[in-house]
Amino acid sequence: MTEELLNLKDVKKYFGLRGAPWRKAQSVRAVDGVNLVVRKGETVGLVGESGSGKSTLARVATRLLDPTQGRVEIGGTDVTKVRGRRLRPVRRRIQMVFQDPQASLNPRQSVGTILSTPYRAQGIRPTRTQLVDLLKQVGLAEQYLERYPHEFSGGQRQRIGIARALSVKPDLLVCDEPVSALDVSVQAQVLNLLADLRDELGLSYVLVAHDLAVVRQVADRIAVMYLGTIVEEGPAAQVYEAPAHPYTKALLSAVPVPEPGVDRDRIVLTGDVPTPIDPPSGCPFRTRCYKAQDVCATERPVLEPVQGSTEHSTEHSTGHRAACYFPEPPPS
């Protein structure tokens, strides 16, 4: 079994809401009990709609947020309670790339300063060669080192964001919507870059994205989130070809395909995602589900191996699993 880079165990993240004292204390259950393992060399796609908790989960995984409950293990060590300086070795293994490179790069710092920040946080003074190599790795030329973020296009800025994350030679990059702010033609460049870096450096990724086509392009494994829980997980090909959870099925069918006349057999869901303050009892998806029955309101279904999954499920299963009482049958 390959090395586990990231292991999230029953992670919950609630955000408290303040209110009048006679009101029941409320909290937003952004992440509500997630188990997720990322192994060396793999790319895990974390997909879901807004409010699914995918971005919060990414921030808990990178220890930017403290989990309300559960364990975060990075490289086999429990780092749930690690704070401050002692987080440095953690940060060396796991880095984050943000959605909006405009907002995540300090406009008053030159690219050189931006790239050397993670080094300095580790107590290292990088040489110019190191910084130039970083730039080259993401396809930017040496002369950009002295320039400032506003002199770059969105795609170039995202490359700088990636270079910054790569500076400490992490094993795992958590990318939160890395291409959603970019034009289509530029998005493809960045996706290809991520794939190249994976091949060259043996990187692993957690790719958080709402765009299912983008995720399919790069991910080996997919976790589909809905209202703070993972409702389906498995090898990308299986999840995309034969989604077992009705939500995944509806989600995939809703994505338009750039080919006129293709029959999408669309399942249009009614209504909106319920509020994570007061999620439905039992299965979180039951209020919008076309298959919901009485039993769905009783207890939350757990992830179970999908019929016909090519791999057997163990505790550390990478097989195809879904949390549904009435999963879609495998295609004949």
Binding site: N192, P256, P260
Partner: protein
């Protein structure tokens, strides 16, 4: 969807130029484009940031700031709109031509209830009592699928979900039964399951009222699904135009082809690598001679100097109807690679 080309266009735009006067000199954002849309038909204008697609629609509506100079013809049912005095144009805006914006949260006024905002749109073009306008607003909110519309009309925009807000914006646009609806990235800010709901709603509206729809989008998936005709814009010019099948199956412009290759797909196993277009879209006005796409084009070497010196005009290409592309390359590019 009506068969394209069978009905006379309701909105025609000829040789539209938009130039912004800035401190750094004039910036041509739209540099001579033509398009037309017929009742019940959907025209998609596709392009990346800086392509001029949103500026074009704002120009049609007369919504550009005062530093924008608009020339060319904008004909609504044969009547010239460009150069109309403000009062005349105001009677057309929101009445004959209405608009749906990308981000419903910022497009709605946070200080007024949604019912008030929809009713306002009605009262601006109809001399009716506030009560009547409010009833009309509720009718429209109900029509676009807002549950419990008479009660929800008294809610404020921030009390709605993203999808419901976009429905409000659509209700506001439809309240005067417009003949042309311009939707600028109407689903970009929405989740994909909600996007499917909104696209279905727009489709239903079109079928019921025969509205002509101009869809401005960067999402080729959405375009493939709903458009009859497509105009691909690049750097303020038309790169290619044709029926949706012409564009997706017989793309004649290297840029169109590049865009199609750069789109990852959800329904088929991924290619090992996406096709990319090197570089980034040019800022408006930065390329003045030759083909604006030339610096990023993989086929320039097939043509040579002409791409740098001579601006390609739209010329007919094989296809269903008026398939045209602005490229010096005579043949279909993918055949050459």
């Amino acid at each position: 969807m009506a068969e394209p080309g069978l009905t006379a266009p309701i909105l025609e735009v000829h040789d539209l130029h938009v130039t912004f006067t800035t401190e750094g000199g004039p910036v041509p954002a739209v540099d001579g484009i033509d398009f037309a849309v017929a009742p019940g038909e959907t025209l998609a204008i596709v392009g990346e940031s800086g392509s001029g697609k949103s500026v074009s629609s704002a120009a049609v509506m007369g919504l550009l700031p005062s530093n924008a100079q608009v020339t060319g013809e904008v004909l609504l049912d044969g009547r010239e709109l460009n150069g109309l005095p403000g009062d005349e144009l105001r009677k057309i805006r929101g009445n004959d031509i209405a608009m749906v914006f990308q981000d419903a949260l910022s497009a709605l006024n946070p200080y007024y209830t949604v019912g008030w905002q929809v009713a306002e749109a009605y009262r601006l073009h109809h001399d009716v009592s506030k009560k009547k306008a409010h009833e009309r607003a509720i009718e429209l909110l109900d029509k676009v699928g807002i549950p419990d519309a008479s009660r929800r009309a008294d809610s404020y925009p921030h009390e709605f979900s993203g999808g419901m807000r976009q429905r409000v914006v659509i209700a506001m646009a439809l309240v005067n039964d417009p003949r042309v609806l311009i939707a600028d990235e109407p689903t970009t800010a929405l989740d994909v399951t909600v996007q499917a709901q909104i696209m279905r709603l727009l489709d239903d509206v079109q079928a019921e009222f025969g509205t002509a729809l101009i869809l401005i989008s960067h999402d080729l998936g959405v375009v493939a699904e709903v458009a009859d005709d497509v105009l691909v814009m690049y750097a303020g010019r038309a790169a290619e135009r044709g029926t949706v099948r012409d564009i997706f199956f017989r793309a004649a412009h290297p840029y169109t082809l590049g865009l199609l290759g750069a789109m990852p797909r959800v329904d088929v196993p991924p290619k090992p690598r996406l096709t990319t277009i090197p570089g980034t879209p040019p800022t408006p006005g930065s390329i003045t001679t030759g083909c604006p796409f030339q610096p990023r084009c993989a086929y320039t070497h097939r043509v040579g100097e002409r791409c740098i010196t001579e601006r390609p005009e739209l010329t007919p290409r094989p296809g269903q109807g008026d398939h045209e592309a602005a490229c010096h390359l005579g043949r279909r590019p993918e055949v050459l690679l």
